[in-house]
C-alpha cells in the first residue's frame, strides 16, 4: 500500500531502488496514480497514432504516390482510428475522471479501488494486444499483420472469406478486452459520484465535471455493451461457423452497422462530455465568474445523454434505409444540436462580463469554442440526409469528426493538462512553451482540417490510398499534409513542457489559479489520502465561499 505522497517516481533523493518504485506503480490502486497511468498511456499512443497519420499524409501528398503500398495504407487508417479512439481518447477521459472526480467531490478514492486498477490494466492490455498483431500472427499474405478493415470493421469484409488470417481477430479481441475495462471504470465512477460525495455536496452542488462524468459513465454502460455483443457475434461467425453477418446464408451486413453505430454514436458523446467538463471548469476560473446557468447545463447534459442514443443511423444514411427511417434520424440528429448549442451559449455567457485571463488553459478553451462551433455546424450539414448522400464517406466527414475530436476534444484536453498539471506535479508549467504549443498546433490544425473539407466537397471519398490527378484534389491534399508538420511541432513542445516543468518548474502551491473547487484546497500534489479531513460544503464553489465570506455563493444559488 502506498504511503508515499510523490506522484512521479522520486528524483534526486536516491533513496529507493527503481524496482520498488515500479512495483508501487504497477500495483497501485490509488485513483490519482491510476489517473496518471491512463494519461501517460494515452500520450504514448497519441504519438503512435500521430505517426500513423503522418505516414498517411505523406502518401497523400500527391496523386499516385508510392510512399506506402495499399495494404500498408489500409492498415494505417484502421490502426490510426482504433488507436486514437480506444487507446488515446478513452484513456484520457478515464484518466482525468479518475484523478479528478474523487478530489472534486471530497472523497478519498474511488468506490472500488481494486476494480479501478483492474480496469486500467484491461485497457492497457487491450492496446498492447492490438499492436501485437503487427508481429503476432503468421499465415497467408496480408493475414499475419495489423487489421485493415477500418475502425468500424463493416461486415462482410470482416468475415473469414474476405479477412483471412487473424488480423481482424486482434481488432475484435483488443476492443473486447478494453471494453470490459471501460465498463468497469464506468461502474466505478457512477458509484463514486452517487455514493461518496462529501457532506453537504448534494447532486445539485457537485462540480459540472462530476455531472458530465456521471452521464458519460451511464452512456459507456449502455453503448460499449452493444459493441461487446456485436464483437461476440463476429467471433461466432469467424470461428464457430455462425451466420450473424453472413450474407450468403441470409444474414445481414446492415445489422452489423446498426449494432456498431448504436455503440459508435454514443461513443463520440462519451468522448466529448469530458471535454465539456474541462471547459466547464476552466472557462469560469479564467473568466473569474461562476458558470452561467448551472441547472440548464446539467439538464442539457442529461438531454444529450438520452438523445445521443437515438441518432445512430445518421452514419447509415447511404445504406438504403427507408425514407421514413432516414427522416426520423434527421430529426433526432438535428434535435441534439439544441442542447449542445445551449452549452456553447452558456460558456459564452460565462465569459461575458468577466475578466478573461489568457493563460494557456484558457487559450485552448477559446480555441475549443471556436472549433466546436464549426464542428457542430458541419455536423448539422451532415445531418441533412440528402446532403449526407453527397458528403458522407468523403473527406468532408473526416474533416468534420477531426474538427470535433482534435479541434474540440483534444484542445480542451490540452487545456486540462495545463490547468491541472500544477496540482498533479506540484510545479508550474512554462507559460512560454505553452503558448508556443498553442499557436503552432492551432496553425497546424487549421491548415490540415479546414482545407480538408474541400476535397470532400469535390468528391474525394475516404480510405483511399491514392487518388487520380484529374479531380482537382491535389493542392488541397498538399496543404492538408503540410499542417501535420506544425501539429507535430506543437505536440513536441507540449511533451517537452510537461517533462521539463516537472523537473524544473516553479513550485505551484495548492491553488495557483485562485480557483474554487475542492481539489485546490489540498496540497499539490495531494497526499495519498487526498484531504486531511473530509470537507463539508455549502455551495457549488466551496473555495469561493471561503475566500469571500461576505459574499458566498450559497446566498445566491
Amino acid at each position: 500500500m502506498s504511503t508515499d505522497s510523490a506522484v512521479w517516481p522520486s528524483t534526486g533523493l536516491a533513496s529507493r531502488p527503481l524496482v520498488d518504485t515500479l512495483h508501487e506503480w504497477i500495483t497501485t490502486v490509488d485513483h490519482k496514480r491510476l489517473g496518471i497511468l491512463y494519461m501517460a498511456y494515452a500520450l504514448l499512443f497519441l504519438v503512435v497514432g500521430g505517426i500513423e497519420a503522418a505516414i498517411m499524409r505523406v502518401q497523400l501528398l500527391r496523386p499516385h504516390n508510392d510512399f506506402v503500398s495499399p495494404q500498408v495504407f489500409n492498415r494505417l487508417f484502421t490502426m490510426h482510428g482504433t488507436t486514437m479512439i480506444f487507446f488515446v481518447l478513452m484513456p484520457l477521459a478515464f484518466g482525468f475522471a479518475n484523478y479528478l472526480v474523487p478530489l472534486m467531490t471530497g472523497a478519498r478514492d474511488m468506490a472500488f479501488p481494486r476494480l479501478n486498477a483492474f480496469s486500467f490494466w484491461l485497457t492497457a492490455f487491450g492496446g498492447l494486444l492490438l499492436y501485437f498483431s503487427l508481429i503476432g500472427a503468421n499465415g497467408l499474405y496480408g493475414a499475419g499483420n495489423a487489421p485493415d478493415v477500418g475502425w468500424f470493421a463493416y461486415a462482410p469484409l470482416t468475415s473469414k472469406t474476405f479477412s483471412v488470417g487473424h488480423s481482424t481477430d486482434f481488432w475484435t479481441l483488443a476492443l473486447l478486452v478494453s471494453g470490459f475495462g471501460s465498463i468497469g471504470t464506468a461502474i466505478n465512477l457512477i458509484t463514486t459520484i452517487l455514493c461518496m460525495r462529501c457532506p453537504g455536496m448534494t447532486l445539485g452542488k457537485m462540480p459540472l465535471l462530476a455531472w458530465l462524468n456521471l452521464v458519460m459513465s451511464g452512456m459507456v454502460i449502455l453503448a460499449v455493451s452493444p459493441l461487446t455483443a456485436a464483437q461476440l457475434m463476429l467471433l461466432v461467425d469467424r470461428y464457430l461457423g455462425g451466420h450473424f453477418f453472413d450474407t450468403q446464408a441470409g444474414g445481414s451486413a446492415v445489422i452489423w452497422m446498426h449494432f456498431f453505430w448504436i455503440f459508435g454514436h454514443p461513443e463520440v458523446y462519451v468522448l466529448v462530455l469530458p471535454a465539456f467538463a474541462f471547459a466547464s471548469e476552466i472557462i469560469p476560473v479564467f473568466s473569474r465568474k461562476a458558470i452561467f446557468g448551472y441547472p440548464v447545463m446539467v439538464a442539457a447534459t442529461i438531454c444529450i445523454g438520452f438523445v445521443a442514443m437515438s441518432v445512430w443511423a445518421h452514419h447509415m444514411f447511404t445504406v438504403g434505409l427507408s425514407s421514413n427511417a432516414n427522416t426520423f434520424f434527421v430529426l433526432s440528429t438535428m434535435a441534439i444540436a439544441v442542447p449542445t448549442g445551449i452549452k456553447i451559449f452558456n460558456w459564452l455567457a460565462t465569459m461575458w462580463g468577466g475578466k478573461i485571463e489568457f493563460k494557456t488553459p484558457m487559450l485552448f478553451c477559446i480555441g475549443f469554442l471556436f472549433q466546436f462551433l464549426i464542428a457542430g455546424l458541419t455536423g448539422i450539414m451532415l445531418g441533412a440526409a440528402p446532403f449526407d448522400w453527397q458528403l458522407g464517406s468523403s473527406y468532408f466527414v473526416v474533416a468534420h469528426f477531426h474538427y470535433v475530436i482534435v479541434g474540440g476534444i483534444l484542445f480542451t484536453t490540452f487545456g486540462a493538462f495545463y490547468y491541472w498539471f500544477p496540482k498533479m506535479s506540484g510545479k508550474m508549467y512554462s507559460e512560454a512553451l505553452g503558448r508556443l504549443h498553442f499557436w503552432l498546433f492551432l496553425i497546424g490544425f487549421h491548415l490540415t482540417f479546414d482545407f480538408m473539407h474541400i476535397p470532400g466537397m469535390l468528391g474525394m471519398p475516404r480510405r483511399i490510398y491514392t487518388y487520380e490527378p484529374d479531380r482537382g484534389w491535389d493542392i488541397w491534399n498538399l496543404v492538408v499534409s503540410i499542417g501535420v508538420v506544425f501539429q507535430t511541432l506543437g505536440i513536441g513542445f507540449f511533451l517537452t513542457n510537461l517533462i521539463w516543468s516537472y523537473f524544473r518548474g516553479r513550485v505551484a502551491g495548492s491553488d495557483p489559479w485562485d480557483a474554487w473547487t475542492l481539489e485546490w484546497s489540498t496540497t499539490s500534489p495531494p497526499p495519498a489520502y487526498n484531504f486531511a479531513s473530509i470537507p463539508r460544503v455549502k455551495s457549488r464553489r466551496p473555495l469561493w465561499d471561503l475566500k469571500h465570506p461576505d459574499d458566498p455563493d450559497w446566498k445566491y444559488e
Binding site: 468506490a111 472500488f112 465498463i183 464506468a186 461502474i187 466505478n188 457512477i190 458509484t191 452517487l194 455514493c195 461518496m196 460525495r197 448534494t202 447532486l203 454502460i221 449502455l222 453503448a223 460499449v224 455493451s225 452493444p226 461487446t228 455483443a229 456485436a230 461476440l232 457475434m233 461466432v236 461467425d237 464457430l240 461457423g241 455462425g242 451466420h243 450473424f244 446464408a249 441470409g250 444474414g251 445481414s252 445489422i255 449494432f259 448504436i262
Partner: protein, 186 residues
Amino acid sequence: MQWEYSARGRVAMFGLIAAEAAIFTIFVVAYIFYIGKSLTGPTPKDVLSVPIFYTICLLSSSVTIHVAVKALSKGNVRGFGAWWLATITLGTAFMYGTVTEWHRLIYQEGLTISKNLFGTTYYSLVGLHGFHVIVGLVGLSMIAILTLRGNVRTAHAERVDVFSLYWHFVDAVWVVVFTVVYVLGR
C-alpha cells in the same frame, strides 16, 4: 439527494446489470430480426420443445434465494444455508436441462450453430444466458463453501443480497429469452 456510502455495492450491481441487459438486448434483437429468415434447415417449430420444467426450476430459484437472504438478515444462518443450497440445486437442474436439450438438438435434430440463422441465433442467445447462469452458480458455490466453513454471518446479509440481485437478473433474462425463443419465435 445524498446516497449512502453503504449503497455502493448495490449501485455497482445495478450498473453491471444495466451493462449486461444492454448486451442481452442486442442478442435478442438479432434473434427476433432473424426469425423466419433462415434459408435452410430445421425451423424452431420443427425441433424446439418448450422447457417448462426447467424454467420452473430456474424461476423458483429466485424465490429460494430471496428466502435465503431474508433468513440470513434475521440471523438464521442454517436456514440461509439450506435455502442457498436449494438455489444451487435448482440452478444446476436448469443447466442440466439446457445441456440435455442441446444434446438432443445437435445429435438428433442436426441443429448446430453453423446450420442456419436459427441455429446461430438460438445457441448464441441461450448460450450467453447459460454462461451467465454458470457464472452465477460459481458465485453461489463460493458463498456456499464459505457458509459451510462458518465464515458467513448476519453482517454479510447486505453483500449476499447484492449478489442475489445478479441471480434475479439472470432469471429475469430467462423470462425474456423464453418468451422470445419458445413463444414468439416458434
